[in-house]
């Protein structure tokens, strides 16, 4: 069982790395600004999933999957906390990802407004024609 888990987890990580390549190709080589922005969101989400995956932990016991980092009692004893720390996943990458998601969203939002403005002024979102600045 644990071998299967490890195998699937590693497949997940490899597919994430592959995703990095694909999304970077989308950003750097596709001509449309809209597609570039879509690829950018894929790229930042890939980074976020990678961070979450790094914070994941192996199953504490064969029958018990890891739990989210939330304590379910309001007055935990030391034993409760010890049990909790041995079951829960790493909360730090989740917090970092929360920050990174908002930042990615803010940047995407602004880029969407800029693309809209580019379309208004140039009549196209093809970067090969949005190239008035050169030299």
């Amino acid at each position: 069982m644990s071998e299967l888990n490890t195998f699937l987890f590693n497949i997940l990580l490899f597919s994430l790395f592959f995703n990095v390549g694909i999304s970077l190709y989308g950003i750097f080589a596709r001509p449309s600004l809209i597609k570039k922005i879509i690829a950018l969101t894929i790229f930042s989400d890939t980074a976020n999933v990678l961070a979450i995956a790094v914070g994941y932990r192996g199953w504490p016991s064969p029958s018990q999957p890891p739990i989210p980092p939330v304590i379910t009692t309001t007055e935990p004893s030391i034993d409760d906390l010890t049990w909790f720390a041995r079951q829960a996943v790493d909360p730090l990458p989740q917090a970092l990802v929360l920050t990174a998601i908002v930042i990615g969203l803010a940047v995407t939002l602004f880029l969407v407004f800029l693309t809209l403005q580019v379309y208004r002024l140039y009549g196209t979102t093809d970067v090969r024609r949005v190239a008035r600045l050169r030299g």
Binding site: F28, A131, R134
Partner: protein, 116 residues
């Protein structure tokens, strides 16, 4: 006989101070001796720069651009053509080629480092 050894900083500062002073003196001499009214002549109003045909010169004043193309044309025309038309051509995807190659180079170095 005593010698005076200055470190490079002080020497440079001293020398540039002397230079500035002498420039000031020369400038003062120049403005006291120079003519107050400019000399004009119709012959001088047709500039002709470095093999540049006169047709490119629109005004009496030589265009800075023409002057510089006159200078750099002989020196680095092919270089500038490459720099302007291949690299700085303003197309985002062509920049991306150089930027991605740079990522490739850096990761290659990382690869060489940890696989050795």
């Amino acid at each position: 006989m005593s010698t005076l050894n200055l470190d490079p900083w002080t020497a440079t500062l001293f020398l540039s101070g002397v230079l500035a002073l002498s420039t000031l003196v020369m400038y003062l001499v120049y403005i006291t001796l120079s003519r107050k009214t400019p000399q004009t002549s119709s012959e001088y109003s047709e500039p002709y720069i470095g093999g540049e045909p006169a047709s490119v010169i629109k005004s009496v004043d030589v265009s800075v651009r023409n002057l510089f193309w006159g200078v750099v044309r002989g020196a680095g025309r092919r270089l500038y053509t490459f720099l302007r038309d291949q690299m700085h051509n303003g197309i985002l995807n062509d920049w991306g080629v150089y930027m991605l190659s740079y990522i490739g180079l850096l990761t290659l170095i990382a690869l060489i480092y940890f696989m050795r």
